[in-house]
Symmetry: C2
């Protein structure tokens, strides 16, 4: 029953910037908002929930493409939770892979940093390790 909000108010309430709200509408992730006579967008409770949904999904690291699928499922009364879970599991796999990659970098870089004295001398283990072996012989 509350009166619809302008885009700025909706942004403040949902934590999604006005810029992004327009963008989500443009790419079809959100239905086109209602408009006042003068063209201002208006947002009701349902739209606010969709914006909040998108915000939460972004917080969980879902891509906009995944979110688009999730929002469709959310709006679909005939959805199967299997489909939702499949998207979540895929995203969990992506997250695990990214973590593994970052761990790899962290391990390698920590090792190099430990070997670097970090003083005023020019000698540096980090820089030394940065040239692939097969290029060392091709020296100047």
């Amino acid at each position: 029953m509350a009166k619809p909000l302008t885009i700025g108010e909706a942004a403040a309430l949902t934590g999604v910037s006005a810029k992004m709200i327009r963008y989500y509408e443009e790419i079809g992730m959100l239905p086109a908002a209602a408009r006042t006579e003068s063209g201002y967008r208006l947002y009701n409770g349902f739209m606010l929930q969709q914006l909040g949904f998108i915000r939460q999904a972004r917080n969980l690291g879902f891509s906009l493409e995944e979110i688009q699928s999730l929002v469709k499922l959310w709006r679909d009364p005939c959805r199967e939770s299997r489909e939702v879970k499949a998207i979540a599991e895929q995203h969990l796999a992506d997250i695990s892979q990214k973590i593994a990659e970052l761990n790899r970098m962290q391990q390698a870089l920590q090792q190099l940093a430990a070997d670097c004295r970090g003083d005023s001398a020019a000698n540096c283990a980090i820089l030394d390790a940065m040239i692939p072996e097969h290029l060392l012989t091709a020296a100047v």
Copy 2:
């Protein structure tokens, strides 16, 4: 003494694509390559080492901006390893932060996924958790 290589050969040897080699030159990360009379770029041993250096740094997750600093230090005989280490430590901090963020997402999403039955029913704990509480009362 080896004869200089074309950009494609340099790319194959260093693992940096020809496209990226041109780009690195364009943004000033690499000195302009020598050219044949007909305009083909040529790469000698030193350039190959720089390309390998960039490749390794990318593998460690450094941004191009950080790599630009690292390459400058690498070329500078008067560098202090302190400066190199500072860049590495900063990058390690960035990595830790990203890992923490991904761990947070992973924890939250695993919890939600565990609560979702993942069957043919429409009821889904993941979707339910996606609407921020303060928007639940603003329902349709």
